[in-house]
Symmetry: C2
Subunit: 198 residues, 2 copies
């Protein structure tokens, strides 16, 4: 095999990205090679800038360029509600739904004893501190509906309830546009138990 | 929507890559954000180096860091054969097969009147010049089996044959591991016409 060294290295590095295999990495590398210098420069700068310019909001740990993120700074948000999520990408997903106008708190993961992630590795202490400083009436837990997400939700609920704050969790059920026939039993079961009056 | 500017820009730039949509670009950007500074630096450098270090071999237009590519420089190759391909990625693909040990010539595309690509945009003149300087006995056309590839093959064959050089084309047929049932009619038809004695 006679692939030039810089191409090999680029394929190697690109294939470390999630969901990018060797073949895709090769296609990307060859595409970049054929691109204008300008657009390669823009791509490279945008990647460097990510780590350089972005850091975590000092209040909610969402991504921001400044001390406080756009959401924490906004005067239009309902500051009595905190939605707890695992990652900054979840904030983006919830914001896209246009149904929530409160604040957020990004945990930075979920409790996972098997991976050695304990309460100290997450922004749980920081969340509890917010109840002292801010006037919060409701916490909405929006962690992923897997075992670790559920465990973390229960753990948080037990910590927060004694503080006289309402704790809710986003609903689980059949996805909009989904098909009953193809939904798994656990989801259908949960949707049945959590049925609501019409 | 309250996505931080640097993240938006990175998503925008990453989604310009082939096969990368907005959602994948967002996943990649957030993954890069969570990566160590070291590995982000390596990724960025490998992308920059592609354009910086690689250019085209002065003889066959394959990718190389030097004047001549590894294949042109090698003393182990059969210098009486030239395999004509569209892109440098095709050289990699053919090399992986371990069945060809001659030289290459990368055209840089195929004739495509609709996209305004004429013979002058391809390295055809350079290919013809090689027959004067080098002692070539066979040209193997390995262009993609689509309309433009076929047209370009016929065009090249007509130019090369008068120079007393044998012109061949790689076989079309049922792919190894493929299934007759799922092969298209054109491929089966071609495989039937080009059947060989056993």
């Amino acid at each position: 095999m006679q692939i030039a060294e810089p191409l090999l290295i680029a394929i190697e590095e690109l294939s470390k990205l999630p969901g990018i295999g060797k073949k895709t990495a090769q296609r990307l590398a060859l595409y970049i090679l054929k691109s204008e210098q300008d657009s390669v420069d823009r791509l490279v700068k945008s990647i460097s800038d990510l780590k350089l310019k972005l850091h975590f909001c000092s209040r909610c740990f969402n991504l921001t360029e400044e001390d406080l993120c756009e959401i924490c700074k906004s005067v239009k948000r309902d500051t009595s509600k905190i939605c707890v999520v695992e990652e900054a990408s979840d904030v983006i997903a919830i914001e896209k739904s246009n149904e929530y106008f409160g604040l957020y708190h990004v945990l930075g993961g979920v409790l996972s004893p098997l991976s050695g992630i304990t309460a100290n590795d997450l922004k749980i202490k920081e969340l509890l501190l917010r109840f002292e400083k801010e006037n919060i009436s409701e916490v909405i837990l929006a962690l992923n509906p897997d075992t670790e997400g559920e465990t973390t939700s229960l753990y948080l609920a037990r910590l927060i309830k004694p503080l006289n704050v309402k704790v809710t969790r986003i609903a689980r059920g059949i996805p909009i546009g989904g098909d009953l026939e193809f939904a798994d039993e656990a989801t259908i079961g949960r949707a049945m138990v959590n049925r609501i009056d019409l």
